[in-house]
Amino acid sequence: MPTQDAGHGPTAALTAYATRFTFADLPAAAAADAKMVVLDTLGALLLGSAPQYTASWLTGELARRAGGTPESTVIGRDFKAPVESAALANGTMGYAADIEGASVARQHVPAVLVPVALAVGEREHADGKALLAALTVGYEICSRAGEACRTEYSYPHSFHPSAVFGYFGAAATAAHLLRLDQPRFANALGIAGSNATGLMTWVDDPTENSRPLVIGMAARGGVTAALLAQMGFGGPPAILDGGKYSIYDAYAGEMHLDRVTDGLGEALWITQHYGYKRHPCCGDIHTGIDALLSILDDHRIGSDDIAAIVHRVKADRAPVIDNNPLKSHCAQYIMAVAAVRGKIESADILEDRRADPRIKSLSNRVRLVGDAAMDPWPAHAPAVVDVATRDGRTLTARVDDAKGRRDNPMTKAELEQKFMDLATTRISRSAATRLMELVFRLDRVADVGQIAALLQVSGDAGAGLRREPKRPASPSLGGGR
């Protein structure tokens, strides 16, 4: 089998670092971060595995019909599938409910990587330490590839950074769990790059199926690339180096090669993430929700008292969330639901609450304003909300960091509660509790399969969201009031 040299460029440096990286290189605080990332994503995966999330359910069906070696669990189902198929279905689940956190570098990193780490880890009977190390390596590589392209330039090119760079992260996490040597690790990144894509066209798809699909595709693409590389399939050996035909020209038109290796081995990307999400909708609307609810709370008014809402965001954040046909990404819809119902639940995205005339009417009175004056503000997605009341007052609140973001963090207890709320939509309280315990001592778990076993749901429970006595069918995620 021909072996290629990755040369001496940034790809070689990055893959040399990645192949040497082990759990021992993970500081204790970073390991704790990584475990919380896994826990939070598992909650999102379980919620997203419900049949109501048709994208998850149908990619699961596809995995069933495609058949093959039963080696990796399809989450929330009662069967296993080849690791590729499981990565596709579980990756799609990861972003289905849009409630997973720990994004970084403008990418929904854990939605791609946690499913990959679990599927490959289960197949390889990896231990928990290997899973945490592989997840950390995947974070490094997709963040660095994205930063080198300047992910903010991908959007104007219609490419979704979470998907495009997710291929590289997924390949890295899978390759690490497969213990590929450096040339094969580099080949895996090259093969994944050949396949990397994920368009923003999902914003035109009101079924919301193709939105999470691009994440599943990245997960599968990376896994396929790592498997092929393991078997001796070749690829471009230095995919992150630029060169004649580079990812930089293709996806962004920007190239900052120094960012591929900048600070490598210092602060890990997994420790830099943006925090966690409390509401199951586009993260850029969260500050608006928090501001609106604080106004209603502080002034003790209800939605019937509201004449109009003006929701100001940074100018560059506005286009995606302004009257988007996807309810999860539509500020008008989300703000109206939050005002009337006091919170955003997953069911508010799955069902159209505009059947309620109060919500329908109020959503027509929400105006989103992209305000260039806010662009220099240091916060990622701040919001200023003005509520005009029927008695003529204008009440204003500004929120720079939504609850859950790293500068306004959720407590460990709140995150645990969020996990339990999400997980128990599909599995029993006792199973969810066991799962949480396993994740918190993941570095002492001998086989990732122990976790996968708790993520299976037998056939009859697949008929709908599991309804625990006295628990909401869909979680309020600590935001209820």
Binding site: Q4, T54, G193, P236
Partner: protein, 461 residues
Amino acid sequence: MTALSSRAAQTNMTDRFARWVETFPYERIPAEVVDRTKEILHDGLGALLSATSPRYDIGGVLRRFVQETGGTPEAQVFGTDLRTNCATAALVNGTFGYYCDIESHHAGAIMHAIAVVGPAALAVGERMHRSGRDVVAAIVVGIDAACRLSYALGGAALYARGFHPTCVAGTYGSLAAAARLYGLQGPALRHAFGLAGTETSGLLAWVSDETEHSRPYNMGLASRHGVFAAHLASCGFGGPPAIFDGKYPLGHAFTGQWDESALFQGLGDTFKVTEIAIKQYACCAFIHPGLDGLFEIMEQERVRAGDIRRITLRYPAGGYQVIDGNALRSHCAQYVLALAAHKGAVDFDDILHDRRSDPGIRALSERVSVVGDKELDRTYPDLYRSIIEVETAAGRYTRDVTYPKGSPQRPLSRDELDHKFARLTADLISPRRRDEITGMVRRLEEVPDVTELTRLLRRDG
């Protein structure tokens, strides 16, 4: 070329094109187009099977991949005794289809259409037990879709961004063929168009991959993308319903341009499959006219390789640098012409492995010169007209070749096609199996179930 911003007012192109894909009937395909399609398919199958030869490492790698991941046995992995699901079969067969770089291509669209469309049509045709006639129509429609998408996006613009046209646009060839054979109609077909766009990809980064694995992998990916998108949509999965038109249209992502007329001009009246050239040599198409001239001189003037003192290839000045002393053997006229003079053929094996270890080939390659000729620029890049001069002790012989053999203007005879197929598959299948495959493809439109053909494409013996 229309600017993207001016397209807002136009009607829904996705719907219009999808309607053609779902309704265009076999009966509207002229008999000679059916015949040409079968030739292209047959030629593509020869190229595909040849990739599974034990001479090459890729067959073993992909066999292991299929064995390890497994899959519902819906479709044959050609040249092996394995069957798997349609999507994986399309991935592997599509990769095989381009590996030896000897299958046909559409020069204007820069499209290796049959490598992508053939495996998709056969995999889904097999799974659905479709007739040979349905499969032929699916291939005709698929090749049109692939080539037209490449023109719409702009092949040169794709290259400029580093995207591989056969992969990015080829996905729509696979999709169109697969969708017809799955029987996708209405909204599901429009969703499939959207999903295909969401999935499609393919960088040219493989030019740095000396294993030559990731080059054909792009064709496999395109073939799988189309099959997968069609299958997903057939299960009820939603997608962007107007991928050519919406807020983030396909053209915007990959090239920033879009030529609507390329999609619709002559649609259903002219057929891209008739514009495809069949390759005789596993090397860059630029060198093909010169190779024809060389072989003609050697045959008609009874020149042997050892007699040749010097070869001069005059090539359009606008493109000669591509083939003059290129480090890539497939694109190096010096290497290819010297090899051809000595071996009488240009096989992929001779591209993969450097034959300059043979002192005769090495010495001759050093006596080949490539000259840029401005006169030849008049018809370039539409034509690769070349003048080749061979000098021996007995004299100088010249040939001026405009259309290489295998091009639509100078088609290969049936015997020549059969000879190529036999040479490509000689170490893989028996003469009897070869004749069965050839016969089956020749009467494909009469075959009630295409599994009769796919069964013949499994490993022989």
